[in-house]
Amino acid sequence: MLRKMLVQGIVAAIVVASAAAVYARFEGAPLPAQAARMEEED
């Protein structure tokens, strides 16, 4: 059961992260990887 709950938590994290990334795109904010790239270019 512990393993099942751990897997469910990780799947939920992936779902939330994906939804948050979509939200960030709509907000016009750069994604973390893009922000890091932009910082490097600066």
Binding site: M5, G9, I10, A12, A35
Partner: protein
């Protein structure tokens, strides 16, 4: 609603909260502020839903945890039933993660709340680690303590 379905929904809620918390903690950086905002509000929604469901149910898995010192003293060394530290961990996590989410939401307008939000969030992470260690030890320990299903020769 059957107790089995209630329990499954509670596990789904647990996954939602754990997943959102993980993303919110991992994106607590200026570069990923929008993602942090989204996952933080997801944590807040999960906590509010849990409090509402807990307030509406008087029995079953959705009832709010009720930590008791007497039960802790009675049950700490007993192997019967649920470990009495479970409600303590559940209450501490609901309070700290809830406080972290509320302070984060308010810090959007009141910037002086940013430092308290960060402090509560860091503290909540240590309680999450404690919860993980406790659950692992309790379940692992129970598995070791239970008699094997294999017949004794």
């Amino acid at each position: 609603m059957s107790p089995r379905l209630q329990f499954q929904l509670l596990r789904l809620w647990h996954a939602w909260l754990a997943g959102s918390y993980l993303v919110a903690y991992a994106t607590a950086d200026e570069d990923s502020y929008a993602m942090h905002l989204f996952s933080g509000y997801s944590v807040l929604a999960a906590i509010l839903l849990r409090l509402l469901a807990g307030a509406l149910s008087s029995a079953g898995p959705w009832r709010l945890p009720r930590p008791s010192l007497a039960a802790l003293r009675r049950g700490l060394f007993s192997r019967r039933g649920r470990h009495p530290l479970f409600p303590w961990f559940a209450a501490a996590l609901l309070a700290l993660v809830g406080l972290s989410a509320v302070s984060g939401a308010l810090a959007d307008g009141a910037t002086w709340l940013e430092d308290p939000h960060e402090a509560v969030s860091e503290l909540s992470l240590w309680v999450v680690f404690g919860h993980l260690a406790f659950v692992t030890v309790i379940h692992g320990g129970l598995r070791l303590a239970l008699p094997s299903k294999e017949p004794v020769r």
